[in-house]
């Protein structure tokens, strides 16, 4: 009964492997053979080409466009064919009086997020893992990652509403409880900007990021827990000696990626929390590298100058990625490559 199936599959296997061998053997054979092999899988190749074309156009063309950082790009120029100005824009950039402030703000926000928002989902995942009731756990999880699906536009809208100095609920409660006498204009004062950035990030992303850690926890071999229990390990010891080491590779990968994004203060978040940068009252602590690039490039039309800033930022980002990855390797931990 099942012989035909076996024959079929053997035949198909043969077909597939032979095709694979041809492909692998190709570099040694002539160009004609290679072309023939390509023609044979033309319809498969045609599945790749539209997507690849889009990637080339919308990712690689802009990468090539970075060349304008070394040129004086004017509207109407063909990118890459403007007048060369060498490092002029970089010199102007390093003399920019706001450079220190935007760099400080960017690193402060990313650093605080790394310190406070990065561990939050790990802690949440560890806690959820300790809860025995499945239904209860699932409901809590559904609620905690709901904010991830809201846009920063929406989150900022809520922040302006609840933190409003004009009878927003937070001020209302604080006044009722006698903690403050006059309302605090949370969204309008520079000193509250960083705490609010970190706080809203924790609120929005903790539940979502916990999913990946929970997935990693579920991959831990149950035999390890049993062995620990026989050894008389208590809950904290099990978390420390089994769960944490079990999810360490995941933590390291995500940590490397976070470090490489140190110069990416969340653009959407900052734009929305400053009302599209219109709220200058918080500019002192709110202006970051990405909003600087946006203001100069899009609003003021200084394309080449803004691109020079992008160039520097990407270069540092790439260095950070390689550096963090290398460090993780040295520490004998997981690495991206």
């Amino acid at each position: 009964m099942f012989r035909p199936v076996a024959i079929c599959s053997a035949w198909a296997d043969h077909g597939l492997t032979s095709m694979a061998t041809t492909t692998r053997a190709l570099p040694r054979s002539g160009g004609g053979l290679r072309l023939n092999a390509f023609k044979r899988q033309l319809s498969l190749q045609s599945m790749v080409l539209p997507s690849l074309a889009l990637v080339v156009v919308f990712v690689y063309f802009p990468m090539y466009g970075l060349i304008m950082a070394f040129q004086d790009f004017q509207i109407g120029d063909v990118p890459g064919f403007s007048t060369w100005v060498g490092l002029h824009h970089f010199r102007v950039l390093f003399q920019e009086p706001n450079l220190y402030r935007i760099t400080r703000n960017t690193i402060a926000m990313s650093g605080l997020k790394l310190l406070l928002a990065f561990p939050a989902p790990i802690i949440l995942a560890l806690m959820l893992n300790e809860l025995p009731y499945h239904g209860f756990k699932r409901v809590l999880q559904t609620v905690t990652y709901m904010p991830h699906f809201l846009s920063w536009v929406v989150v900022a809208a809520m922040m302006f509403e609840f933190l409003s100095g004009d009878s927003g609920i937070v001020n209302y409660m604080l006044e009722r409880l006698g903690i403050i006498d006059t309302p605090i204009v949370f969204m309008g004062e520079a000193e509250y900007f960083w705490p609010l950035v970190v706080g809203s990030e924790i609120w929005k992303e903790t539940g979502w990021s916990a999913i990946i850690y929970l997935a990693a926890i579920s991959g831990i071999d149950p035999a390890q827990y049993e062995a620990a229990e026989i050894d008389g390990a208590n809950r904290l010891q099990k978390i420390w000696h089994i769960v944490l080491p079990g999810i360490m590779p995941t933590i390291m990968i995500l940590f490397i990626l976070s470090v490489s994004r140190l110069l990416d203060a969340n653009f959407d978040q900052v734009m929305m929390m400053t009302g599209n940068l219109n709220n200058r009252a918080v500019a002192e602590t709110a202006d970051v590298i990405d909003t600087f690039i946006f203001s100069y490039g899009i609003r003021l039309g200084r394309f080449s100058f803004a691109t020079a800033a992008t160039f520097i930022k990407s270069a540092i980002g790439a260095t950070l990625l390689v550096g963090a990855n290398q460090m993780s390797k040295v520490l004998n931990q997981e690495s991206l490559w």
Binding site: C8, W11, A12, D13, L16, M19, T23, S43, L44, M47, V48, S51, L54, V55, V57, F58, F61, P62, Y64, G65, L66, F73, M127, E130, L131, P132, F136, R138, V139, T142, V143, T144, M146, L150, S151, V154, A157, G165, D166, S167, R176, V185, W203, I211, I212, A215, A216, N234, R235, D268, M272, G275, N278, I293, G297, I298, A306, T310, K313, A318
Partner: protein, 300 residues
């Protein structure tokens, strides 16, 4: 958890309590926004509305829905989400399927191109100039084409397709079916979890996007999605509330202030309309995307 000593049980309850408090903190703003949107606008100005409307009314919703920009923006949002998700699914899916075949020629070259594109980009300015040059300004297609292929999603899908048993395709392959037929007739029907996951990712990104409209829809607001309308509603006549609140002023100024405060319910109503579609969809996708994320977290 099986050896429930007293210390263990206290620990569990403490943890349950902490997680519960955090969940309530996640839930509260949404409930409160709903309550404010359903509360009488003038009453809202008095402050102190928590999670239930003090004076229930649909006034705010009637007010905002009578503005013809809002239903229009809703259509744009729905249109870009549906068409953007479909286009992205088909393109990325075909790409991922081809890439899952080890005998695909130039597979490694394609992958290198993709990985570089995943980590590096030209940034905002060159992309902006490119889109202007391609004539995509003030064109609905700008919502769909530049983001149609997402490399990360492609890798997730490819990983999923790879783990499907090869036997699945063999008989169709025997019958002389081409890769397109196999993809649409055989692969897609057994790929529900990954399709659901990717649709959710792409759909949410489409629904929540605002920067593309802000950058590229310069001539007219007719093609603005809900997010940009919400930004507009937040900014007009309301943004400087806070500054007014802290400053005392003339009677005229105070009058103006009260007028502005009354739009608070309306703002929350616009916000609720913006998030309701997402809140309705995501809980049903839960069982899929946890799995999807797990696949995505695997290396390679």
């Amino acid at each position: 958890m099986r050896n429930s000593t007293l210390a263990n049980r206290i620990g569990t309850w403490t943890i349950a309590f902490v997680v519960l408090v955090f969940s309530l903190m996640c839930l509260y703003p949404i409930l409160s926004a709903l309550a404010i949107s359903l509360n009488d606008p003038d009453d809202t100005a008095r402050g102190g509305v928590t999670i239930y409307p003090r004076e229930f009314t649909f006034t705010s919703y009637q007010m905002i829905l009578s503005d013809r920009r809002i239903p229009r923006a809703m259509l744009v949002s729905i249109g870009r989400t549906v068409s953007g998700t479909l286009v992205s699914l088909v393109l990325t899916g075909l790409f991922a399927y081809a890439m899952s075949k080890r005998y695909l020629m130039f597979r490694n070259a394609y992958m290198t191109i993709c990985v570089i594109a995943m980590y590096f980009s030209g940034g905002l300015i060159p992309l902006y100039l490119l889109i202007a040059r391609l004539g995509l300004m003030n064109n609905f297609l700008v919502y769909i084409i530049p983001t149609a292929v997402n490399i990360f999603n492609m890798i997730i899908m490819r990983t999923f397709f790879r783990q499907l048993p090869e036997a699945l395709e063999e008989s169709a392959y025997m019958d002389g079916a081409g890769p397109y037929t196999i993809f649409f007739r055989i692969i897609l029907p057994v790929s529900t979890p990954i399709i659901a996951t990717i649709s959710l990712f792409v759909g949410v990104a489409q629904w929540n996007a605002w920067l593309d409209a802000a950058l590229y829809m310069t001539r007219t607001q007719d093609l603005w999605p809900m997010q940009n309308i919400l930004i507009e509603v937040l900014n007009t006549a309301s943004f400087y509330n806070d500054m007014l609140a802290s400053a005392s002023g003339t009677a005229a100024e105070v009058m103006m202030k009260i007028q502005r405060v009354s739009v608070r319910s309306a703002r929350m109503a616009v916000m609720m309309i913006t998030i309701v579609p997402i809140l309705c969809v995501y809980p049903f996708m839960q069982k899929y995307f946890a799995k999807g994320i797990m696949i995505g977290s695997l290396k390679g």
